[in-house]
């Protein structure tokens, strides 16, 4: 299996050096990428704050816990969604739902950590997020812009953890604005002259410190940052290059634009894009809050799936939509729902995920137990398997502890 070795070699090269910037490195990486049959990239639609499963992907019409929330039929026979997700309902034949996800973490920060890394917070090691693992393990196919991107991040964007800060997601905000920090404040000529002048200062500092200064990696990082600034691939962030009708489909919201930018980024070879839609923490007025947010989520999620399918890239892209936990089945006195990590829903699509399927069933009476329970980390094992990564392979932490990329079990029922 010579191609496997080459792939591994390229993955290492992509992660650690500039080999991917050479024409040969790029050509080899592209060849290896073509051979891949597994999905190539991941889009995480992050529902910050923890969305109510009952008002989104797991309605229980006619029960006490529904608190009035009804259900709509979808393109997938027998699968219902909560009202407000009509556009997504038309795409349900491409979406799988896991309605029995559970974790032990009912606190926002700990819940985010668990759902983003597949591990509970642990004082001895900071685990890498799903996107960091994907970028670390899959080769770089000549991508000059960051391969792990977080659009509209909240306070806990996906991080590289033990893999290093270079695997942290690159944070950008509403795609209608310019990408931060990639445009010089001075004309190009003046900027290039500054870069030239920098060499004079660098050479003075290197005197007597030669190898030690090389070891700082400063020069290398500067060069890569400089290359990024002039990269044509930066246009992928610019959603204004899409037609007005496409932009309209995604919705005139930061999240909608974020989803469109995610699709454009995936097109140029970015491995993982996280797009955040926050505000789901509905301790009061749950129904009003979720109705408003669904107005943003529905067109964006549906347009993303439709767009990817039309471009024939849905099969190469895993889309995962989930938050840090679900919400209590019973409404509280303020008409809100509180934190509920015991069973909630994740939606997955693309990248070999079998659409129109449902795994697990939550308790219609609102109990903690559900049928066919799946742990949060099973989502990671599933996505990693879908992108062709051996989830059981281990990493080693700086203090010498080894841990698997995911300790979960892939949810084979939704993998095609």
């Amino acid at each position: 299996m010579p191609h496997l070795h080459r792939r591994e070699l390229l993955a290492a090269a992509g992660a650690t050096s500039l080999a991917w910037l050479t024409p040969l490195g790029t050509a080899l990486a592209r060849a290896a990428e073509k051979e891949r049959t597994a999905a190539k990239s991941v889009i995480v639609l992050w529902m910050g704050g923890g969305p109510s499963q009952l008002e989104t992907f797991d309605p229980k019409p006619g029960t006490n816990i529904a608190a009035g929330t009804k259900a709509i039929n979808t393109a997938a026979k027998g699968i219902q969604l909560a009202p407000g997700l009509e556009l997504l309902a038309d795409q349900m034949q491409h979406v799988a739902l896991v309605r029995s996800i559970w974790s032990k973490e009912g606190d926002h920060e700990r819940g985010v950590y668990t759902l983003k890394t597949g591990y509970r917070p642990d004082p001895t090691v900071t685990h890498p997020s799903l996107g960091a693992i994907v970028c670390h393990d899959l080769p770089n196919t000549g991508v000059e812009i960051p391969r792990h991107v977080s659009i509209m991040p909240d306070q806990w964007p996906a991080r590289g953890g033990v893999l290093g800060a270079q695997y942290d997601s690159f944070k950008v905000f509403d795609p209608k604005d310019k990408v931060p920090d990639v445009t010089p404040h001075v004309p190009k000529e003046r900027f290039e002259s500054r870069i030239e002048d920098l060499k004079v200062v660098e050479s003075a500092f290197a005197k007597g410190r030669g190898k030690r200064v090389d070891a700082t990696g400063h020069k290398d990082t500067m060069e890569r940052a400089h290359k990024l600034m002039s990269s044509d691939q930066l246009k992928a962030f610019d959603v204004s290059q899409e037609s007005a009708s496409v932009r309209k489909e995604y919705g005139d919201t930061p999240f909608g634009r974020g989803c469109l930018a995610a699709r454009r980024l995936i097109d140029v070879g970015v491995r993982c894009v996280e797009v955040t839609l926050g505000g789901w923490d509905s301790h009061a007025n749950n129904h009003e809050i979720t109705t408003r947010l669904k107005g943003t989520l529905d067109p964006a999620f549906a347009a993303l799936l439709r767009d990817l399918r039309q471009r024939n890239t849905l099969k190469d892209t895993v889309v995962l939509c989930v938050g840090e936990f679900g919400r209590t089945p019973h409404l509280n006195a303020l008409g809100g729902r509180d934190h509920w990590p015991h069973n909630f829903t994740a939606a997955l699509a693309g990248g070999g995920i079998k659409g129109g399927t449902v795994v697990g069933e939550s308790d219609p009476a609102g109990g903690k137990e559900s049928k066919d329970r799946r742990a949060a980390e099973d989502l990671h094992a599933t996505v990693l398997k879908a992108v062709g990564i051996d989830w059981e392979k281990t990493f080693r932490s700086p203090i010498g502890r080894t841990f698997a990329r995911s300790e979960g079990k892939p949810i084979d029922a939704i993998l095609g």
Partner: protein, 541 residues
């Protein structure tokens, strides 16, 4: 009419003179740096420094390695300023430093910084990372601010470090009234509605004893056979009777601590006990008071050793041991630790855990004043035994603190206008958020990242500081430096705390030659940008 015009002209003239004057020594008494080397001149102090120096020299001789030469005084002054205040020295301070007699000025400078409010604030913030964690979530932000403000006040008074730690571990009361309790309050666990005893056991062992016992939280420790899971949980049991209601931390003196066995399942009850040196644990007091006494007992050698190791790392960028936190007891044993750590820890414990003295001692050692460059080829072996000064990445707040300080020729400190200080506070916070902070081991050796470089090259804040705006240091230099070479030198001193080499001076002076007005200001802004983006700006050296 004429009178008003004249008054206006006079006003402009005064401002111009003041700006020009700020490039050169200032004579206002209140802005004078007090270079008092007295504490470093005492015999017992010098004796400790000599012992430490001797121990390193023996090591260099044993390994047959030549040490680097002594660093330039300004380079050492920069290290001190970065370590103790989080930014480079101001031009105002550099000018005064250079007026001092060379033999004592570094001692005087270190002592001055240790009495400056900036030291108390900065060191409190750094230490708090270890004490209450680097997180800054909305729930704990307030508690953390109260805690740091308290710690800063205590450092300003040079309260014994042991006393500080005792308060953190054992204090009871409202978190507004007794800010030390925020050490406990910061671990508030939403699920248990109380302090997280396991997290506290981890914090106490890591932050105060420099030991990573936490693997034993779920199972017996893999690397240290002396640490069983029961040792860890018995340590956590010291916090088992602590309650957290609204903002009040109290001990109830009842109830037993129970822990969840994450591996084998089940819940077990366990009584408090210490994992080593049980003879130091007093019989009386609340559980937390007993633990506090055990941790800070001068005979508990781990306490002093861990502190010296951490403070050494905060001063030089690298711990004396391999890590700030050891994973086995052997790593901290007499046989394994370098003699310098033993000497400094013994002195620290026998001087009532006096942090100021410890910092002055470290600052006075030969190693602290070695060059990071050498005429010979520097190998890993040189680095290993401190025969050269280490090259380490600055923390984000040091990078931006230096950028902000470099944009002003005057020192930004307690005397600065409240707007200047507020601007610095918010600028720094915003920058650190964007630059990214080390989540776990802040002394881990790591490269910078591309987003960090982009932020430095193109970020609004850094660019704003380099800009040719009125009142920025670069503009003042462009307008008032008497010659091109003097302008370049002043920019170098302000940003990099060194003079340019002749080659650098010629290169940049040529760029300024025959320029005036806006063009000159732009060229100076370009030079500032270049210096902000140089390796040496964001590395300690």
């Amino acid at each position: 009419m004429w009178g008003r015009n004249l008054l206006f002209l006079a006003f402009i003239l005064v401002i111009a003179l003041a700006m020009r004057a700020s490039l050169f020594p200032l004579s206002t008494a209140s802005r004078k740096v007090n270079f008092d080397p007295t504490p470093t001149e005492k015999d017992d102090f010098r004796a400790v420094v000599s012992k430490v120096d001797q121990s390193f020299r023996e090591e260099w001789a044993n390994k047959e390695l030549q040490p680097a030469a002594r660093a330039d005084d300004l380079a050492v002054a920069r290290r001190l300023s970065l370590a103790l205040t989080g930014s480079v020295p101001s031009l105002e301070e550099i000018r005064q430093f250079e007026e001092q007699p060379p033999e004592k000025r570094l001692d005087g400078w270190a002592n001055h910084l240790l009495h400056d409010r900036r030291y108390a604030d900065y060191f409190a913030g750094r230490l708090a990372r270890a004490f209450v964690g680097p997180e800054d979530g909305p729930l704990i932000a307030y508690r953390k601010r109260r805690f740091i403000a308290w710690l800063s006040d205590e450092l300003k008074q040079n309260t014994s470090y042991a006393k500080l730690v005792e308060q953190m571990i054992s204090a009871q009361g409202l978190n507004t009234d007794k800010p030390a309790v925020n050490f406990i309050a910061a671990t508030f666990d939403e699920n248990r509605k109380g302090p997280d005893a396991e997290k506290l056991a981890i914090r106490v062992t890591r932050a105060f004893l420099g030991l990573r016992i936490d693997c034993a939280q779920c199972h017996d420790h893999f690397l240290e056979p002396a640490w069983k899971q029961t040792h860890f949980q018995a340590l956590a049991a010291f916090f088992g009777q602590t309650k957290h209601s609204v903002t009040n931390i109290t001990d109830t003196n009842q109830g037993e601590y129970k822990f969840e066995d994450r591996v084998s399942g089940g819940t077990h009850q366990i009584a408090p006990a210490v994992p080593f040196l049980p003879e130091l644990l007093p019989a009386r007091g609340t559980r937390r008071e007993r633990l506090a006494s055990w941790v800070t007992d001068p005979a508990n050698k781990y306490f002093a050793r861990a502190t010296v190791n951490r403070v050494w790392a905060m001063m030089t960028g690298r711990p004396l041991l391999r890590r700030v936190e050891a994973q086995t007891l052997a790593e901290m044993s007499d046989e394994k630790i370098p003699p310098a750590l033993r000497i400094l820890a013994t002195d620290f414990a026998s001087h009532e855990h006096d942090l100021r003295r410890l910092i002055l001692l470290i600052a006075s050692t030969e190693v602290f004043r070695l060059d990071s460059a050498a005429e010979f080829d520097i190998t890993d072996a040189h680095d290993e035994i401190w025969a050269v000064f280490p090259l380490t990445r600055l923390r984000p707040e040091q990078v931006i603190g230096s950028v902000i300080q470099s944009a002003s020729v005057k020192t930004i400190n307690q005397q600065s206008h409240i707007f200047v200080r507020l601007a610095r506070y918010f600028n720094e916070k915003d920058f650190v958020k964007r630059y990214g902070d080390a989540a776990d081991d802040e002394f881990e050796r790591a490269h910078g990242t591309i987003p960090q470089r982009l932020l430095m090259m193109n970020g609004d804040l850094v660019d704003g500081k380099a800009k040719d705006e009125l009142l920025s240091a670069s503009t003042q230099i462009a307008m008032f430096a008497p010659t091109d070479a003097a302008a370049v030198e002043t920019a170098y001193l302000t940003v990099l705390t060194r003079r340019p080499t002749p080659k650098e001076s010629n290169h940049f002076a040529a760029k300024l030659a025959n320029t005036t007005g806006d063009e000159r200001k732009r060229r100076l802004a370009d030079l500032y940008w270049v210096l902000f983006n140089a390796t040496e700006q964001s590395w300690n050296h």
